[in-house]
Amino acid sequence: MSLAAEAFVSQIAAAEPWPENATLYQPLKEDQILLSDCASSLAVQAYLRMCGLPVQVVCRANAEYMSPSGKIPFIHVGNQVVSELGPIVQFTKAKGHSLSDGLDDVQRAEMKAYMELVNNMLLTAELFIQWCDDATAAEISRPRYSSPYSWPLNNILAYQKQWEVRRKMNAIGWGGKTLEQVYEDVSQCCQALSQRLGTQPYFFSKQPTELDALVFGHLFTIITTRLTSGELAERIKGFSNLLSFCRRIEQTYFEDKSSST
């Protein structure tokens, strides 16, 4: 969206309170959704729960095409549709709910920097493993991504998505990397997060912020998803404070969900 349109939308957003029937759309959970989308979606769900805003999760096969920016997840609130964590955080801020108000400028700079680190490293690594590693792409990503569609559309869509992601990896210089190097990058990123977290309950001491939601979304999804090789999950499990961080957030904010299953 252009800047003027964004400002206009936040003006409108500020006018109404959060409705009861807000919905979050993501691809089909059992068959279609992939690791990176699941992580982003979980991050947004965690953020909304931390803000105390109710939202229903709805699974649709064409969620990616419904989204205004093509990315998952997106929320439908009132008569507005907002996708991706960054714009959703701004949208909820316009409505008066924010988790990072108590931070000073330097802390906010740090928070944004760490969020970029997670996006830059973890999300890119997830995309790489899903689409640039031939084994994973053939066994998991392509079949899952195209499962709602019949032949020949499923082949076309799957290969198109793969080509797009590979192009993006080449553009940012990840095209020549091997899987080992990517695992190494993920380890370094987790080490940085682990050191930043230390022994605190959340990244910025007592209160969770959007950074906590984002990190939880990615790490929890990686730990609980089965890929062709469990190496990525093993690397993350090596950091005990990150594991306990994920468990803590799951118990605090997703308790009713896990107790019902």
Binding site: L3, G70, K71, K112, A113, E116, N119, N120, Q195
Partner: protein, 303 residues
């Protein structure tokens, strides 16, 4: 460590040792860590099209990409991050990611995609530094690479056209500059008194934007308003890249200045003490009676 280190990079201009951001990062880091690099500019050679810049050659090893080069230098025991805590090392990674995501697209756009800047500054510069007939090919190749990178990473649907992406990347870049300014605050370098790899990265990204004579750039004017960042760049240029290339004198001068300051403070303190003692003496009762006596004596004399 025995093998000589050679760095291939683009040449310098506008008061900078190199106009290329990534080469500047490596040059700055080598100065901070004390590594002796022989700089081989690739200007006017065929390497402008064949080599990927910057490139470090050490014996048989060839290392590309700034992050890999810094890692290599650290393994060779040239480490400017020696004194950082683990948390500061984590912060370094985070801020570098911030620079890459938010600032780099806008820098690429300012130098390579913005029509006025490209035709008046970037293309003539790179064309004049490439041998014939590469001067027709090199700049346009880099420009199209820059444009495709911006569109692929930032231009997701519905922002397919570059004009729509522009607004977003420039506002992201301005926010990034503000965040860097908040983080730097009043300190000389990002982590204490000695520069580290984060300072090298920030310098590499900001210095060309600061020093280049761009015909039209809102981002440059935004940067120039952030005094602490401009002083940061000037400081690094003056201390590490000045013409005579002194690496030792500045610390000596600093200690001399510090000593001088301490001396002046001591002298001031002493003179304050003396004044106080003087006042106390004047105010003391013994002194008053003495003065009364002397006044009495004087009056008796004048009588």
């Amino acid at each position: 460590m025995a093998a000589a280190l050679e760095l291939r990079c683009w040449g310098g201009d506008w008061g900078l040792p190199s106009v290329h951001s990534e080469s500047l990062v490596v040059l700055a880091y080598s100065k901070f860590s004390g590594a002796k690099l022989t700089v081989c500019p690739i200007d006017w050679t065929w390497k402008t099209i064949t080599a990927s810049v910057p490139e470090l050659l050490c014996g048989d090893a060839v290392v590309q990409e700034p992050a890999q080069i810094l890692h290599f230098l650290r393994k060779q025991r040239f480490n400017a991050d020696y004194e950082l805590t683990a948390r500061q090392g984590a912060d370094t990674m985070a801020y570098i990611a911030l620079l890459e995501e938010k600032l780099r697209p806008a820098l690429l756009h300012t130098f390579w995609v913005d029509a006025e800047n490209y035709s008046n500054l970037t293309r003539p510069w790179f064309a004049s530094r490439s041998p014939f007939p590469l001067n027709f090919v090199v700049p346009s190749r880099q420009a199209s690479a820059a444009l495709s990178r911006i569109l692929v990473t930032k231009g997701e649907a519905p922002l397919h056209r570059i004009s729509e992406v522009e607004g977003k990347i420039y506002s992201d870049a301005k926010e990034c500059l503000n965040l860097l300014s908040y983080r730097l605050g009043k300190t000389k370098y990002f982590f204490g008194n000695s520069p580290s790899s984060l300072d090298a990265f920030v310098f590499g990204f900001l210095a060309p934007l600061f020093k280049a004579t761009l015909p039209s750039s809102t981002l440059q004017s935004h940067l120039k308003q952030l005094d602490n960042l401009t002083h940061f760049c000037d400081n690094i240029l003056a201390v590490y890249f000045s013409a005579q290339n002194p690496s030792l004198p500045p610390p000596v001068q600093e200690t001399m200045d510090a000593n001088l300051q301490k001396l002046t403070q001591l002298v001031n303190k002493e003179s304050n003490l003396i004044e106080k003692m003087d006042d106390n003496l004047r105010g003391s009762p013994q002194h008053k009676t003495h003065r009364a006596e002397s006044r009495a004596r004087v009056s008796t004399v004048t009588d």
